[in-house]
Symmetry: C2
Subunit: 466 residues, 2 copies
């Protein structure tokens, strides 16, 4: 089951660089039906240090994970808060973290889990924005405090959709690395794996890419008997025994993460990684200079340390995700099985093992895991529209072009009042992260363009005398 | 309880001037949650006589009632279908007519009734449009047949919201007499009754308006004892005994309907009426030339015949609605108690008895009748936004300025790519009705402007080569 690839967002918690008050808002479980009047507590983090006259609300539309994880990778928002007199708010997405509509029972069955959807989450954010506008009205002269939505990855999709679906809830939105066009027929399904492969070739080397491409068969051969499995487990310092598909999936995730978070400085997004981890990985892999299968496995074991043991403190490599990550993956999987149906595939043209996107098989996997099936592959397009942004306005779509997810993002201006910011040397949500001396110019420029637009939106709002 | 005033749409069926095939589409009961995968059959009427190359789908977004009622009052759509090679489709609104998600149980409790909402209905229409585009693709060369939404009254609100919420589902929308700004603080709550009173004064006479204004107290005096009640019942040919509030509500509805459907030709919208029924009513009422209470009651009885007995075949006046109308009122009342919260009031400035809009009392009435309360008065604004159309595009808002509902409509161009068409002498959905020699110029011109926009949208669409 491919679902493991679909969870875009990190669960690793970096140091607490930014401080917050943790608050809750009471919200209907079901905004669009009235079968009951259940409510739940949606968590949000707030920092009002910089909030003041002619200010704004920076509302981060939370991802598929605990909201605290996001704050540590969104330093840009903190860095610009003072210049915009901004209230900083990070809203958690329902069904993640502490925002559980049915408490411990929230994942118990479709009956409880069914109220998880992006459409409900968007309305949660609108509701929260309204509440914040009332709550902070006393601190300002303005009738309605203008809000700006920000988000990265799935959170960026939500920021864009918020502006599209609830155009007067926010005056603008920054959708960073938001793959809003990854649904049926919107882009080639191999876009993700093609870009990863290109990254390994252009940032690493052709040899590196080719070694990975030919490794799958050799690894599978090793896993056919116990001796081979033991050799692999020892060489790679694995913590436990494994199934073949677990290991190949694990490798695919590693390559995805390395490419996605290939920042020019050490970072802790999904896991702690050195600067330029793709280059580091390939540097080691490229030391391989024999055709011997054992040598290949050993060299891969060394290269994998870039991913598994940057801190040097890893005793063995656990290819299974942490509990918190597993929960988030499970919950996101439900979304992927109901509304976020993302056809992802790989072909001969990339360095991954071939895999088709077979909707029927996908649907069967969904039913087995969650007791639900996608109603159709077209659900997300029916809800959010196809590749037509002619009526969108005040949305910035930014993408690091080295980010695999940029293959499903908005990187061309086609129509509408939207800005497209492409960072040639950027990775996943490079611009949302705190500024770093090592940032390439394209990332630095992206932030300046974003600041420019925020200022334009706010000037326009305040000049209109609303 | 004021809910009786809120049902905007007619239930009277005129002759079958237009023919259709009746079809059904299977649709999820709940688009936004995944608690179950129930589906139901949504009814739609279709006429493909005129459909052809470079054509369009005219999709009427159905009102709060059986869809057949709407077709007979939307002759404009038939009249222009051939010039646009249009497929004519009238989609029924879920929970009305035959489109019952839970069959006979649909109104049994909030558990069943809860899936009734405009947000669900809009998504039904998007779903249907997609299905129609696939179904009729074989008859045309175009990749995706462009659709245009049309609707009047609540159906007009839905047409506008469809274009706003699902901008690429239709290339444009005609929202005729759509009071999309009738929610909390969007307009004075007495707008409706003020315009009715003005109509009676300017179309009838000041005397007529004043007679009505002073009648309430006299009528209430009559209803204080059995003798008075009998006198009233005899004089007004009522079919049965009554409560005082029933009679005053009935009168309010009559005045509303007379003003709303004050067409310059005989029509059968809510009930069969002569041309210019406000004038006809006032002509009779103005024959009153004494201050005697009995005379007043008798003259009202005569004037009411304009409303109750235009056909001359009414034996007695039934102030209770027909069964089908009562069902529709009940269902609409649920919407008014959950999401369509419309503060309507009357004051000394109009000819009606004073009535405040008291949200708490309203909420209590709702709970008593339906077992639900509005979550807040702001629900419709949270969902559909406030009076900001800056991101709307290709929507025509047309209003007859004599129509009481125009007080809650879009009659000023403020922003966005929307067209405002005001018919100075028009009534409720005058433009959507079949053309009539007696139509005032403003109505005739409105239709021309609408045709012009439809053509523009279609030319633009086909020239873009989609």
């Amino acid at each position: 089951m491919l679902l493991i690839f679909l969870c875009l967002f990190p669960m690793a918690l970096a140091q607490d660089e930014y401080t917050f008050d943790t608050k809750y808002v009471e919200i209907p479980v079901n905004h669009f039906t009235f079968t009951d009047n259940s409510t739940f507590q949606l968590k949000y983090l707030v920092n009002d240090t910089y909030f003041g006259q002619n200010g704004t609300i920076f509302i981060y539309t939370g991802n598929e994970g605990e909201i605290e994880m996001v704050t540590q990778n969104s330093g840009f928002i903190f860095e610009i808060a003072s210049q915009f007199n901004a209230l900083i708010v990070f809203a958690e997405h329902r069904y993640y973290g502490k925002s559980l509509p049915f408490g411990n029972q929230s994942y118990a069955s479709p009956e409880y889990m069914g109220s998880l959807s992006s459409t409900q989450a968007l309305r949660d954010f609108v509701y929260l924005i309204n509440e914040l506008q009332k709550l902070y009205a006393k601190d300002t002269d303005v009738k309605k405090i203008p809000a700006i939505a920000l988000g990265g990855s799935y959170g960026g999709m939500l920021a864009a959709w918020l502006k599209i679906k609830y155009p007067d809830s926010v005056i603008g939105a920054l959708a960073s690395s938001a793959p809003i066009w990854m649904f049926k027929d919107q882009n080639p399904c191999d876009s993700l794996y093609t870009i990863i492969s290109d990254d390994f070739e252009t940032l690493g080397s052709t040899k590196c890419r080719d070694t990975i491409a030919k490794s799958w068969e050799i690894i599978r051969t090793f896993t056919q008997d116990e001796a081979g499995k033991k050799k692999l487990a020892d060489s790679w310092k694995l913590c436990s025994t494994f199934e073949t598909d677990t290991i190949t999936s694990w490798l695919s995730v590693i390559y995805t993460v390395l490419a996605q978070t290939n920042y020019p400085y050490p970072a802790d997004y999904v896991v702690p990684l050195p600067a330029n981890p793709v280059q580091e990985f390939c540097k080691i892999l490229d030391t391989l200079n024999s055709d011997d299968a054992n040598d290949l496995v050993t060299t891969f074991g060394d290269a994998l340390q870039v991913y598994t043991n940057y801190t040097g403190s890893t005793e063995c490599n656990n290819f299974q995700a942490k509990e918190s990550q597993r929960v988030a993956d499970y919950v996101w999987g439900f979304q992927a099985c109901t509304e976020m149906i993302m056809p992802i595939c790989s072909t001969d043209a990339d360095m991954f093992e071939n895999s088709e996107f077979d909707f029927e098989a996908y649907s069967n996997d969904c039913f087995e895991t969650y007791g639900v099936r996608p109603r159709s592959e077209e659900v997300p397009i029916t809800e959010y529209g196809d590749k037509d942004l002619s009526t969108a306005n005040n949305i910035i779509f930014s993408n690091g072009l080295q980010d695999p997810w940029s293959g499903f993002g908005v990187t061309d201006v086609l129509s509408g009042n939207v800005a497209v910011v492409s960072m040639a040397d950027g990775a996943h949500i490079s611009d949302l992260r705190a500024g770093n001396d090592q940032d390439p110019d394209s990332v630095k420029q992206a932030r300046l363009i974003e600041i420019y637009h925020f200022q334009q939106w706010l000037d326009e709002y305040y000049q209109s005398g609303k």
